[in-house]
Assembly symmetry: C2
């Protein structure tokens, strides 16, 4: 297998390290803070038993995965011989600009340089980079070792070959790349999430629904089919003759809702007091960490279920 | 257990009949078309083996469930002794108005009269009804015997007792009621779905993403956590200190997307040609029925998984 480098080993970087290492790649861990890579490796070591128990290490032993993680404080050593660099430094434009200059200067000329940013467009921090054709964004939903989707976002100057090689690499490690054709703020997933959340906050603010009603409507309703089909396939199968039939039957209903969606609820306004109260009644602040661990166990179980259902029933 | 009546035995009515019968209720099937209830019972009989195989009959035998379905062409017989009436006639205002007058006149005075409508507000077809305090909408996602969520939508004159009794009944048969506080077009679930679809159509129309990219982003991304938590709990757990922390960190990013969401893509416009072509390449028209059967098998497997994960890991 090949070498990859993780630049910035906070929560996103260390999560990517797991995705690469369990697929058999040798992963160099580097961070501006000299102690961070060792902390990241220790953190990963603590996660491996749960991942192994859920058959999420591709059949490799925990030891084998851990041994593929190489901690280094020397950036030249980190980049030596890599085919792919995954950058996870703070979401500050000036930092990303400096880091991308540095990476382009030091990395092997044919290595791809990808940023995990969710907040910045790739054109914003790669325009000045000599090898900008090999730069792009690969944005995960955290943690990528559990959630397969990852957005590939090219800048205008990113070469098609860069996008194709990156897609092939991420597919090969078990991620599901979304291939954006051009950049836009929020990319695809945060735009879709944002659209849903805007309506959710509005429904609560306007007194139609509680926080829990919205969550029931998604978790016991819409997201069941979305979780194995996505929204387009869902509506394609929801009218006898497919998506055109669906649009002909129902677009009028949806377009009728449009005028009432033209106002943003201020998420941080008074409605947030109510939402926070509802949530803290269900999960008190001191139980949030425990609930996050529950979420990760449920997510692992769901991933295992989807793998099995795809094998038995088809995908 | 109690008696309920299904008025209108098309796809929604027959699906509701399964939900009630497997919970032990005696279900009268009545339709304007005299042959329809028998067809509905035959259809249900054909579904029961699959439901039994997926342990979705609450431990009852197929025969026991089938014997709880009573076909009748006599409306007085259908309504005799019922505690709940679920109406599923065509989505035409004048039809619903007539049917509700008729049901209110003939039904036991303490029976609740619920409509499965997705398109009409309860105030639109119950205002003239003498017993309008006992009328409301209970809108499922089809099929309700697989998808638990159901929206309870009161008209302004629906009594709180009606809403409470209806919620208790639907909880007791294993549905997950969303308790709307007042009516609005689209209710909760179609508004949330519509918000997501508007962004999805826009992203495809504007050339940022393919149909498949959107579906990947949801099915291999966002909907994984949504399918067992919903969107509010998801963001509540996505910042160290909960939802207020999340809003403080990220509302700026989402509000920045708002201006670029102020245009509706015309779903039935030129973009539909592209979307339909993409979909038909993946699932040809002649395979749609087979794919719908695949969807239902995946949905049953997912429901079974959620039940088991809730038991083992918690919900």
């Amino acid at each position: 297998m090949s070498r990859v480098a993780i630049i910035g080993t906070g929560f996103i970087g260390r999560a990517w390290a797991i995705s690469f290492a369990r697929a058999g790649h040798d992963v160099a861990l580097w961070d501006q803070a000299p102690d961070a890579p060792t902390q990241a490796r220790d953190y990963i070591a603590g996660l491996l038993p749960d991942l192994a128990a859920n058959d999420l290490l591709n059949g490799h032993s925990q030891d084998a995965v851990l041994q593929r993680l190489r901690v280094t404080t020397d950036i030249d050593d980190a980049l030596d011989g890599v085919i792919h660099i995954q950058e996870n430094t703070p979401e500050k434009l000036e930092i990303k600009m400096k880091v991308f200059s540095m990476l382009d200067e030091k990395a092997p000329k044919d290595a791809i340089i990808a940023s995990s940013t969710s907040a910045l467009l790739p054109s914003a921090f790669t325009a000045h980079v000599e090898g900008r054709h090999r730069c792009l964004v690969v944005h995960p939903i955290n943690p990528p070792y559990l959630v397969p989707a990852a957005e590939l976002v090219p800048a205008p100057w990113t070469s098609p070959e860069t996008v194709e090689r990156t897609a092939a690499l991420f597919r090969s490690i078990g991620q599901a790349p979304l291939m954006m054709k051009k950049e836009i703020d929020g990319f695809i997933m945060n735009r879709l999430q944002g659209a849903l959340l805007e309506e959710a906050f509005r429904l609560v603010e306007d007194g139609y629904a509680s926080v829990e009603d919205v969550d029931i409507g998604i978790r016991d309703g819409l997201a069941l089919r979305w979780s194995f089909m996505g929204p387009f396939e869902t509506i394609d199968l929801n009218a006898p003759s497919g998506i055109r039939d669906y649009v002909e039957r129902y677009e009028g209903i949806y377009s009728g809702l449009w005028p009432s969606t033209q106002r943003r609820a201020e998420w941080g306004g008074p409605v947030l007091d109510q939402i926070e109260r509802d949530r803290r009644e269900r999960v008190p602040a001191e139980k949030l960490k425990e609930r996050q661990e529950w979420r990760d166990r449920r997510l692992m179980a769901l991933i295992a279920h989807k793998r099995e259902a795809s094998r038995k029933i088809g995908s």
